[in-house]
């Protein structure tokens, strides 16, 4: 029996030795160790062995099986490694061939600027609100302390529809809608499309976008306005940005200001973007006029607030160095692709 097993082993090892591929090794496994293999046949012939010898023979068979298996596994593993190595050597590609890109569309620069502004103010606890683009005189003018016959109406070159219905010239009317709802405190921004009868040229468009902001609460101060807008400017234009507030006049705020930011192109040294001044005018703002609060049923003795408004196109043009506003409304794909 011993000799038979040794013979099986020697044959198997020789076959393993001579195997020239994984298939051959598998054949060895089947022929020797498989159900119909030589070793299995030996086990099957156990019935012919004397019962007292069976454990011994069984042990011998198992030992032989283990030895063959070990050699076989080793050979397989070596052969697989060699095969993998060969694969790695042959599967070399030219990594400089062109990339396979998914053709993605692009957001409009106005929208990128708008989302950026929205993100900053949402982070500061502001709600984004929308108002109608076709408005009544009351919301666009009167409730903003611009009474009938006020020259400020002329300044804004309004498109009229009929009666007291017009195309809004500013997003400020949205503030009034929100104030009228009577839910205080208010922290909101209102982005949207506005219209003024300016002829189309490199710096004017009869349709453009504004973002308006409004905060109303007890004890809101001009200092809060300055602090909030300074934070906003840093977020939008970079941590180094400085702000400057200049007195100005708007009917719906008092005191009013215009805010300049230190030129984000030259850092304030003076360049063609800031026309050499080092500063860029970015928005108008102020403390909500008591008349405006009163008209929307908010008691100016108890509440105060600030408001600000900016042109989105202006920010987009400045940020992305776009030199002609008409490009924003032509929708030439070669323009849009750059954002």
């Amino acid at each position: 029996m011993r000799a038979k097993l040794d013979q099986i082993k020697a044959d198997a090892l020789a076959q393993i030795q001579n195997a020239d591929g994984l298939e051959k090794l598998n054949e060895v496994r089947v022929n020797v160790l498989g159900k119909k293999g030589a070793l299995t046949a030996v086990l099957k012939s156990m019935k012919d062995v004397a019962p007292e010898d069976r454990p011994k023979v069984g042990q011998m068979v198992n030992e032989t099986r283990a030895e063959i298996e070990a050699v076989l596994e080793d050979a397989i593993s070596k052969m697989e490694r060699a095969k993998r190595e060969l694969q790695m050597k042959t599967e070399v590609i030219d990594v400089t061939l062109p990339a396979k890109k998914h053709t993605k569309g692009h957001r409009h620069p106005n929208t990128i600027a708008m989302e950026e502004v929205e993100r900053i103010f949402i982070g500061m606890g502001y709600e984004v609100v929308e108002g109608p683009e076709i408005e009544t005189d009351y919301y666009n003018f009167e409730a903003l302390n611009i009474p009938a016959d006020h020259p400020a109406k002329d300044e804004q070159d309004t498109f009229y529809i009929s009666g007291d219905i017009l195309l809004r010239t500013q997003t400020s009317g949205t503030q009034v809608h929100v104030m009228e709802q009577g839910k205080l405190p208010i922290r909101m921004i209102a982005p949207g499309r506005v219209f003024r009868s300016d002829e189309v040229d490199a710096t004017h468009s009869p349709s453009f976008h504004q973002i308006e902001g409004l905060v109303i609460d007890k004890h809101i101060t001009f200092a809060d306005l300055k602090g909030t807008l300074a934070e906003f400017a840093k977020e939008l234009f970079g941590e180094e940005t400085k702000v400057k507030f200049r007195p100005h006049h708007f009917n719906f705020t008092e005191p009013s200001a215009e805010m300049d930011v230190s030129c984000f192109k030259c850092g304030g040294k003076g360049c063609r973007f800031c026309k050499g001044s080092g500063w860029i005018e970015i928005l108008g703002c102020g403390m909500v006029h008591p008349n405006v609060l009163r008209m929307s049923n908010i008691d100016p003795e108890k509440y105060s607030g600030f408001a600000f408004g900016m042109g989105l196109e202006r920010i987009a043009l400045l940020k992305y160095e776009i030199d002609d506003m008409r490009l924003l409304y032509e929708n030439d794909i070669r323009f849009l692709k750059q954002f």
Binding site: T103, K226, D332
Partner: protein
């Protein structure tokens, strides 16, 4: 508003500052300086010289050689000018000096022109004598200058003195942006007051004393104001023995710096006072005023009137007129009449200084299409107290400049003057608004600078009449802030109740629309909301199509921008056409923008503004590419039900066989299709284009960002392929509806893997093949389950006249 700094300094004599310093300080205190220009920026080394002798140039007929005395030296100068004589005093620029322009008066070179010693036809010349154009100005502003040739000074000017100084060019002209609330700052005195307050220097107003003659105004003129609602004050004064002459140089220089051409003493005085006081003045020739009477009243509708510019103007009954006893002689606040205008022969003048209703003047000027310097000032609403001050100033100047005599008294029809406004002083409130801790003393000091007085008895601030803009405590807070310094106010963040930042659901859906459109290769366009009514024809809408019911703008920029869009397609198609014409390939665009649907026309209430998600493309892709975008979007919005497509969308602008309504849960959410070739022709798009429109208000109710984990299938799926021959008229949508209806609970999905029409299929039929998948959540399916479901499906399909293939 442009003003020379020297004029401001006349009222703020202690003001000492550089141009940039002045600009910065004034801008930070609220009087924004737009720009400034030094009048002498390109003038250097120019002196007053006297011509001692003139000889002919030996080699040039047109040149002469002058010996010029400059006081400390004598120079030989060769010139081509023909207007100089021995003894004339002229501006001379010496070697290394600079002049601003050439003698032809053309555009001024950026850095001026440097003058060097040289030879003219062999004769040495040590400098140049200058014309007014070379000094950077013109005869408009220096009317005494000769038409061509060298500027010649008055005899009294000292030889050797600084010619730039003598010409009044050692000065800087500042351009201010005055805000509409500060009517008082549309005047030199107003700006000077601000400058005095800004630099904390005394403001010295002109001292106005009128020396009157013995005559009485009553003997010359009376004034009646009929329409007192439009004229709160009308002051008239009379000056006699008028002698028309040039005004003095100092006055000419100040007007010139403000951009006003000097004309003669009378005109210049009215202009000067208008600049100085901000009060427009008008002068009538008394000899043309019938009945020695001025009547202020409304015109009659349809009347015509010739203004002093010679134009005939059509009047209406809301326009205020200045009349005499018989006729109209001027349109109040806008322009005088041809019939009463001042000529050089004028003997007696009536000055008018009035306060008209600003809104009325503004509207009249607009209707007349005639906006003048005067109307521009009146329409802001002037201070009636200023009218009196200004007319007295004008009379003072008439007398002092020897232009005439002033008749004693003033005809003054004045509605009761409003009492000076009073505002309760509340330092705590001011600090509360500003977020500051400014002391009462500092505030009081600021009020003093602004001529606001404090009434201790009532704790009120008394507001001077020229500050009509100060109405309440917020205005006072601004005054404090301006002069305390906006820059000194601290920066804080709002305290108080925290609020949640929010993007409303509607805007979140739009954000997702942008994301998906871009993911699918579409770039965002922006189009105007207003367009031409011709768009409806381009889109081939029927004459009675409800979409033609568009809102019209009453004052559009032109017909092309005259209606508010009711269909969003024109913008996208126009943009595709732009790209197509520029040979851009494979263009995919989308837009999110409103259409405006009126509830009734003309508009009596606000219209329905509906956000439209519009997509359009040409190039790679087809109808089904567009359909894919729509379904990707719905998928992101959690809209998991089956979207159905009805080919009977009825859109005339789309290919009749390649269009569909997009239907979700029985509701039409939009449409898509291939653009009709006729429409493509109308837009000059030479290739197939596809569009889709989603009506966002209809999409919104179906959208959700809520998701629920359904578990991952544990049991295997079973699939069955079926292949069938189907009449062409049957849509695969109908087949899918049957599969869905009849597949039962175990139906997991189905996949169309082949559609074929062709030679092996009989005429009028197509071959369609589906792979249908079944799966149960709780067990492994038995053959019987699947067979049962398949049988139901197949029975349903046979009902449609579909034959199964083996």
């Amino acid at each position: 508003m442009n003003t020379a700094l020297s004029w401001i300094k006349a009222y703020v004599p202690e003001l000492e500052c550089g141009d940039q310093e002045y600009t910065d300080a004034m801008t930070l205190s609220g009087t924004k300086v737009e720009t400034f220009e030094r009048l002498d920026k390109n003038l250097d080394k120019i002196y007053v010289g006297q011509i001692m002798s003139i000889e002919r140039h030996p080699d040039a007929d047109k040149l002469i050689i002058c010996q010029v005395d400059l006081g400390d030296k004598q120079l030989q100068i060769v010139t081509g000018a023909s207007n100089v004589n021995v003894g004339d005093k002229v501006p001379v620029v010496v070697d290394g000096g600079k002049v601003a322009g050439g003698h032809d008066g053309g555009p001024l070179p950026e850095g001026g022109i440097t003058i060097k010693n040289g030879k003219l036809r062999g004769v040495e010349s040590f400098g140049m004598m200058c014309s007014i154009e070379e000094l950077g100005s013109s005869r408009d502003f220096y009317p005494e200058a000769p038409e061509s040739g060298i500027y010649i000074f008055d005899e009294s000017v000292a030889v050797g003195s600084d010619a730039i100084e003598v010409l009044g060019l050692r000065d800087t002209v500042f351009e201010y942006e005055v805000t509409s609330n500060r009517v008082d700052c549309y005047s030199v005195l107003g700006i000077a007051r601000e400058a005095a307050a800004t630099f904390n220097k005394p403001f010295v107003a002109p001292v106005v004393e009128v020396r009157e003659n013995e005559e009485k105004i009553e003997d010359y003129i009376s004034v009646e104001v009929v329409d007192t609602d439009l004229c709160s004050r009308y002051c008239a004064r009379v000056c006699t023995n008028i002698k028309i002459e040039p005004s003095p140089e100092w006055m000419q220089r100040r007007l010139a710096a403000s951009g006003i051409r000097p004309i003669n003493n009378l005109v210049d005085i009215t202009n000067y006072v208008m600049e100085e006081y901000g009060q427009p003045m008008h002068a009538f020739d008394l000899d043309t005023v019938a009945g020695k009477k001025i009547v202020v009243k409304r015109a009659k509708d349809g009347e015509e009137f010739q203004t002093l510019d010679g134009q005939v103007r059509k009047l209406d009954s809301e326009m205020l007129m200045i009349c005499d006893a018989e006729k109209e002689i001027g349109i109040a606040g806008i322009m005088g009449g041809e019939n009463s205008k001042i000529t050089d022969d004028v003997k007696t003048v009536v000055f008018e200084s009035a306060t008209f209703n600003g809104a009325n003047i503004r509207k009249s000027a607009k209707r007349l299409g005639l906006r003048t310097d005067a109307s521009g000032k009146f329409e802001k609403g002037l201070d009636p107290r200023n009218a009196e001050a200004a007319i007295n100033r004008a009379c003072q100047l008439i007398q002092e400049l020897g232009c005439g005599e002033v008749v004693s008294g003033m005809a003054d029809v004045c509605q009761p003057l409003k009492e000076l406004n009073r505002i309760k002083f509340d330092a705590e409130r001011i600090n509360g608004l500003l977020g500051t801790d400014i002391s009462t003393e500092t505030m009081m000091e600021i009020f003093g600078r602004l001529e606001l007085t404090y009434d201790e008895a009532t704790n009120e601030l008394v507001i001077p009449s020229f500050r009509q803009d100060l109405e309440g405590i917020a205005d006072i807070a601004e005054e404090v802030a301006r002069f305390y310094g906006y820059d000194k106010i601290p920066m804080t963040l709002p305290s108080g109740e925290a609020t949640t930042g929010k993007l409303p659901f509607k805007l979140r859906l739009e954000e997702k629309a942008r994301d998906i459109a871009e993911f699918c290769g579409f770039s965002q366009g922006m189009c105007y909301s207003f367009e031409s009514p011709k768009v409806f024809d381009k889109l081939m809408l029927a004459e009675d199509d409800v979409l033609r019911q568009a809102i019209t703008i009453s004052n559009p920029l032109g017909e092309d921008f005259s209606i508010m869009r009711t269909v969003p397609l024109n913008g996208i198609l126009t943009s595709l056409a732009t790209n197509y014409n520029r040979r851009n390939k494979n263009v995919r665009l989308y837009e999110l923008g409103n259409v405006y649907l009126p509830k009734a026309l003309p508009l009596t209430e606000l219209p329905d503004e509906r956000m439209q998600f519009t997509l359009g493309f040409y190039g790679d892709g087809d109808f089904f590419t567009m359909k894919g975008v729509i379904e990707e979007y719905f998928d992101v919005l959690g809209m998991n039900k089956k979207v159905t497509y009805d080919p009977n969308a009825g859109k005339v602008f789309l290919h009749p066989g390649r269009q569909a309504s997009i239907i979700y849960d029985g509701v039409v959410l939009g449409y898509l299709g291939e653009v009709h070739p006729d429409v493509l022709d109308n837009y000059d798009i030479g290739t197939k284009a596809y569009i889709a429109v989603l009506d966002m208000p209809n999409v919104e109710p179906f959208a959700t960002f809520n998701r629920k984990f359904e578990g991952i299938a544990k049991y295997p799926a079973v699939s069955r392929d079926i292949s069938m021959v189907v009449p062409k008229s049957i849509l695969v949508g109908q087949i899918e509806a049957i599969i869905e209806q009849r597949g039962g609970k175990i139906l997991e999905g189905y996949n169309l893997f082949d559609v074929y029409e062709g030679s092996q299929i009989k005429e009028g039929f197509k071959s369609v093949a589906y792979s249908i998948t079944f799966r149960a959540k709780d067990r492994t399916l038995e053959e019987a389950d699947v067979a049962g479901a398949m049988k139901k499906i197949l029975n349903g399909l046979e009902g449609l006249g579909i034959e199964l293939r083996a």
